[in-house]
Structures are given as structure tokens and as C-alpha cells.
């Protein structure tokens, strides 16, 4: 009997950092099992063992990735029953939250999203109303479903690796019948930079970059950071909508958020104000972003950013 079940959806050849974080949290709740989809590579299996996973469940059908949410939730419900877990952890991506939502209804289980920390008794910590409140919430049901935000724990393997058993669970045929399916899928161009929602450092630009993200990208690459943007910059077409940080885009809480040429309207703040350290560069001394910045520079981002990039490269040798 496992205490916690972690959902890992088609990771490919290596587990994402967010999955390792989920495994680390799960282990703090007790014996951990994994509900897995996609091909289980040897390296991934070894990592699961290193993180103390006792059982890996796999679905009885192998094309789950062509369906949206519903069948995955049905599979996960079967895995919860097989494992006996009372806590289910999924990542906080849009699809992760949707799977959590449907799973909750299937299992009569309380669902808590946007979780930043979990206590041993299942109490979840989260930040709501655009980071203006910290709340604790708890499910009153036998099973708790939690979608957990990235970057809130350091991934740590177990003290000693364990031998992981594998088991197959049935996906009910009716779950596939009435589901939305993915008719076509195209991989988006890959930037080589870290994923915005998971990055340790984010460099974000707004109206002030005036169409040229070059200096931001160069600083991001020197720092190993992701590139984000305000809605003004994505609406102008200077950068893809995927890069949008804010209430209607990606919410980030990195160790360091560098805001360049962004005035800091409430919609933008909503997406980044739980960042650990905020740095702002803006020509306008009156920009609201300076009210929340730990370090602010009133100046021209086209001068300040390249100078900083050159200095970082110099110090890193």
C-alpha cells in the first residue's frame, strides 16, 4: 500500500525537474508509487528507484497521449485504487490541473490546485488573489488530489535506492469513447532555454523593449534564464504568447525575476510578485514596478542589460 501516488505523463528520456520535486514531496508523505504513461526508459526507471518509488503503474493502452485529460484521469483513478494511495500529486500545468479536476469528481476527492507546500498530514499551502494572501487548505475526503507548482522544493533522492516493481492497470474502454482527441500536433520551436514556469531566473521585457528582445535574450543566456514578456509585448507580436507572464499568461515564482521596460500594471504583477528577488530596469522613475522591486535601476535597458551581460561573462571567465 502506497501513501502517495505521483502522476508522470510521458516524460521521454529523462524526468523533468518538476517531476523530481513531486517525488521528493511524495516521499515526505510516505511510501510512494508512480502512475506513468509513455515509454519507460531505463534511465527514468533508475531515477524512480533512486527517489524511493516502490511501484510504477503503467496503463493497459499505449496511446493515451492522443487523448485529452478524460482518459488520463480514468487511468489515474484505476492507479489510485490499485495503489491504495490517499494523496495524489500532479504537476500544476493546465493539463495537470484538468486531470486533477476530473480525478477529484471520479474519486469524490477534494482537489487543491497551485500548491506551494504540503505538510505530512496533507495540509496544502498556497498563494491566492495574485499573491496577496497565503492560505492553507485541506481536503475533507479520504483521498486528496494536489496540483503542485514547480520550484518550491529542492529535488532530493532517497537515502538509499529501492527496487521498483511494475504493474499494469486497466484503462476503462468507455473512458476513451467519449473523449476529446488530439487530431494533429506540431512541436513548437525549441529555444534551448529553460521552461518559463520552471526557470530559476526569468528575464522579462515589456513595451520598453520596443520590438528588440536581443539584449534580454543575451542576458538570459548568460544567466541560464528563461525569457518572459508582458502582455503589451506579446500583443505587439514581438515575442510569442507562450512567453506572457501575468494573470492571463504564465505565473512564475523564480529565485530572480528581472523586469526590463515593463511598467508593472496589476495584471503583470499578478504573474510574478511571489518571485524571491525582483529587479526592475525602467526609464520612467514613476513606474509602479519600482514599488515592488528589491533592486531598481532608472535607466536605459539597452545600455544597462548589455553592460551586465558583458560583466557576467567577464566574471564567469
Amino acid at each position: 500500500m502506497a501513501n502517495a501516488l505521483v502522476f508522470i505523463d510521458n516524460p521521454g528520456a529523462a524526468l523533468k525537474k518538476s517531476s523530481l520535486e513531486l517525488l521528493t514531496i511524495a516521499r515526505s508523505l510516505g511510501e510512494t508509487a508512480v502512475a506513468f504513461t509513455g515509454e519507460l526508459h531505463d534511465d527514468v526507471a533508475a531515477t524512480l528507484g533512486a527517489y524511493g518509488v516502490t511501484t510504477v503503474y503503467q496503463p493497459s493502452v499505449n496511446d493515451l497521449e492522443n487523448y485529452l485529460v478524460g482518459p488520463k484521469a480514468a487511468y489515474l483513478a484505476s492507479a489510485v485504487a490499485a495503489s491504495g494511495a490517499t494523496a495524489v500529486l500532479v504537476d500544476n500545468s493546465p493539463e495537470g490541473k484538468e486531470i486533477a479536476g476530473r480525478l477529484g469528481i471520479k474519486l469524490n476527492a477534494g482537489v487543491i490546485t497551485d500548491v506551494v507546500g504540503v505538510e505530512a498530514d496533507g495540509t496544502a499551502h498556497k498563494s491566492v488573489l495574485a499573491g496577496s494572501y497565503n492560505t492553507t487548505a485541506k481536503a475533507t475526503t479520504a483521498v486528496t488530489v494536489l496540483s503542485v507548482k514547480a520550484n518550491n522544493v529542492e529535488p532530493a533522492p532517497a537515502n538509499a535506492p529501492v527496487t521498483t516493481a511494475t504493474a499494469t492497470v486497466e484503462v476503462p474502454a468507455e473512458a476513451l469513447a467519449n473523449s476529446a482527441r488530439i487530431a494533429a500536433r506540431a512541436e513548437k520551436p525549441v529555444s534551448g532555454r529553460p521552461d518559463l514556469s520552471e526557470a530559476r531566473i526569468v528575464v522579462a521585457g515589456g513595451r520598453g523593449v520596443d520590438g528588440d528582445f536581443g539584449p534580454l535574450e543575451e542576458l538570459a543566456d548568460a544567466l541560464g534564464a528563461a525569457v518572459g514578456a508582458s502582455r503589451a509585448a506579446t500583443d505587439a507580436g514581438w515575442i510569442g504568447h507562450d512567453a506572457q507572464v501575468g494573470q492571463t499568461g504564465v505565473t512564475v515564482s523564480p529565485q530572480l525575476y528581472i523586469s526590463a521596460g515593463i511598467s508593472g500594471a496589476i495584471q503583470q504583477k499578478a504573474g510574478m510578485q511571489t518571485s524571491k528577488v525582483i529587479v526592475a530596469i525602467n526609464k520612467d522613475a514613476e513606474s509602479p514596478v519600482f514599488e515592488i522591486a528589491d533592486y531598481g535601476i532608472i535607466g536605459d535597458l539597452f545600455k544597462v542589460l548589455p553592460q551586465a551581460t558583458a560583466e557576467i561573462k567577464k566574471r564567469k571567465g
Partner: protein, 271 residues
């Protein structure tokens, strides 16, 4: 001419994010003074209106029904939707609903949608925004779909309905995907899908003649114990206002701010 559609749009009355928002009371619920129609729901309403208009609008038998669940003030979200162009409204309101979490809310909304389906023809499509701008759990579309046994298509950045099938584009993750599902379906749309219209004078006048049905829990066959704090599967145990961020060091660039910035990174151990 395409098939006509009966569309329900979920509209939520939420605290205006332009002002400070507060959590109060024994259930740690959001204070709902200064509320407005959730901005993200306007995209769902616009998508519904466009689908109806492509098919000849209300004259041809298309319906766009704005449904809101909430206390007395929530009827304002319905009224605003009627002014923008919805053909009729439904306001689900009952004291017992107060404090409902997503699971309880989805139960009540599913019952209200079944009620709307029983009145005339069945609902073809339920449209929602990508999230509310207050609770922001994004759970309602998927939980509603599960309760209604409808397929769900979420985060649609484009939407077509043809021959009883929904086709949508979704760019939420690492892939750009085309999603297909049979009607009836639940579809949530992003703020990229369209540019919502504003109510005009004609719309505001026309809205006064449109019907808003008021439903109680008894009307939709839901018991008070299934909703509210009693019917919720989660409780918010505590809520603490986060201390506001305070401004730190602000400098004006004298030609070496980039270097000072790197000094700051180094001092914070961020390099």
C-alpha cells in the same frame, strides 16, 4: 447553413482586480464588493456570439444563455452579458451555495445545465473562460465536463463547430495541437481567441427586454447538503494577508548600473 446551436456561457461576478481584494469570514471566502463580470469570461461570451451569428443568430433559432451562480449581486454579470449580446440569462442563487468549492460549484452548475437542457432543446455547447480571475483554480470546466459526461476541450485559442463536432486549436504546452470532440462538449477559451465587443446603446436597450430566469437549488433538484461549505470536499483553514512587497534600493544609471547590477546578483548569490 450550419446547424443551429444552444450555447450556455458561464459568467462569474468577481472582485475587480484593479482594487485590493480581501478574504473574510469563517469560511475564508472572497469579499465580493466592487465586483464585475470576470474579464476572462468575456472571451467565452464573444466566442458564443460569433458561433451564433455565423448561423443566423437568434432569429434562426440559435441561443446564447448566460449562466451565473452567486449571491444577489451576481445577476449583474448576467445583465452585462445580455447587454453585450447573450439572448437570455439564468441566475442560480441560494443561500446554501455560499462557500462552495469547485466540486460543489460544478455539481450545482451541472444540475443547472441539465435544467436548461430540459427546457426546450438540449444544450450543445458549454463555453467558459480559461479561469476565473478570483479563485483561479481552472477546475470548473473539467469538473463540469466530468459531471455531465461531456468531452472537454480547454484553452482553445480558436474554435469551430461543424457537423456536430468541435475543432479547436490549443497552444498551451510544448505543442500546438488541433483538438476534436463530439457535441455536446465543454470548451474553455483563452484570451487569444478573439477581441470581445463592448455593449453598445442598442444592446443596452435590448437587454432590458431579455429574460433572466432565477433558479434556486429546489428548482434544479439539488439538496442544500450537497453544496456550500457542507458539500465541499476542501476547506480553507487559514488565510493570511501577505505583507506587501516593499521597494528596495533604487539607483539611477550613471553609466555603470549594469556592473552594479551584477554586484547585486553576486551579493544575493544569484550568479
Amino acid at each position: 447553413m450550419e446547424e443551429t446551436l444552444k450555447i450556455v456561457v458561464l459568467v462569474k461576478h468577481v472582485p475587480d482586480a484593479q482594487f485590493d481584494r480581501h478574504i473574510t469570514g469563517p469560511g475564508n471566502t472572497t469579499d465580493r464588493d466592487e465586483s464585475i463580470l470576470s474579464e476572462l469570461d468575456e472571451y467565452a461570451l464573444e466566442a458564443a456570439l460569433q458561433l451564433a451569428e455565423e448561423r443566423g443568430g437568434p432569429k434562426a433559432g440559435n441561443e446564447v444563455i448566460a449562466l451565473s451562480m452567486g449571491p444577489a449581486g451576481a445577476v449583474n454579470a448576467v445583465k452585462k452579458s445580455l447587454q453585450i449580446g447573450a439572448s437570455s440569462g439564468v441566475h442560480l442563487s441560494d443561500d446554501a451555495l455560499a462557500g462552495s468549492d469547485a466540486a460543489a460549484t460544478s455539481l450545482a452548475l451541472a444540475a443547472a445545465i441539465r435544467h436548461i437542457s430540459a427546457d426546450g432543446r438540449p444544450v450543445d455547447l458549454v463555453l467558459t473562460g480559461m479561469a476565473s480571475t478570483d479563485g483561479e483554480t481552472s477546475l470548473i470546466p473539467s469538473q463540469l465536463a466530468e459531471r455531465l459526461s461531456f468531452p472537454q476541450v480547454t484553452f482553445a485559442s480558436s474554435l469551430e463547430v461543424r457537423g456536430g463536432q468541435v475543432s479547436a486549436r490549443r497552444d498551451a504546452g510544448a505543442f500546438s495541437e488541433t483538438i476534436e470532440a463530439q457535441l455536446p462538449a465543454v470548451v474553455s477559451v483563452t484570451d487569444q481567441i478573439n477581441e470581445p465587443r463592448y455593449p453598445n446603446f442598442k444592446g443596452i436597450l435590448a437587454a432590458k427586454k431579455k429574460k433572466i430566469a432565477s433558479l434556486s437549488l429546489a428548482d434544479i433538484g439539488v439538496d442544500a447538503s450537497q453544496v456550500g461549505l457542507a458539500g465541499s470536499w476542501t476547506v480553507v483553514e487559514s488565510a493570511e494577508a501577505r505583507p506587501p512587497r516593499t521597494a528596495g534600493t533604487i539607483i539611477t544609471d550613471d553609466g555603470d548600473a549594469g556592473i552594479k547590477l551584477v554586484d547585486f546578483f553576486a551579493a544575493q548569490k544569484l550568479l
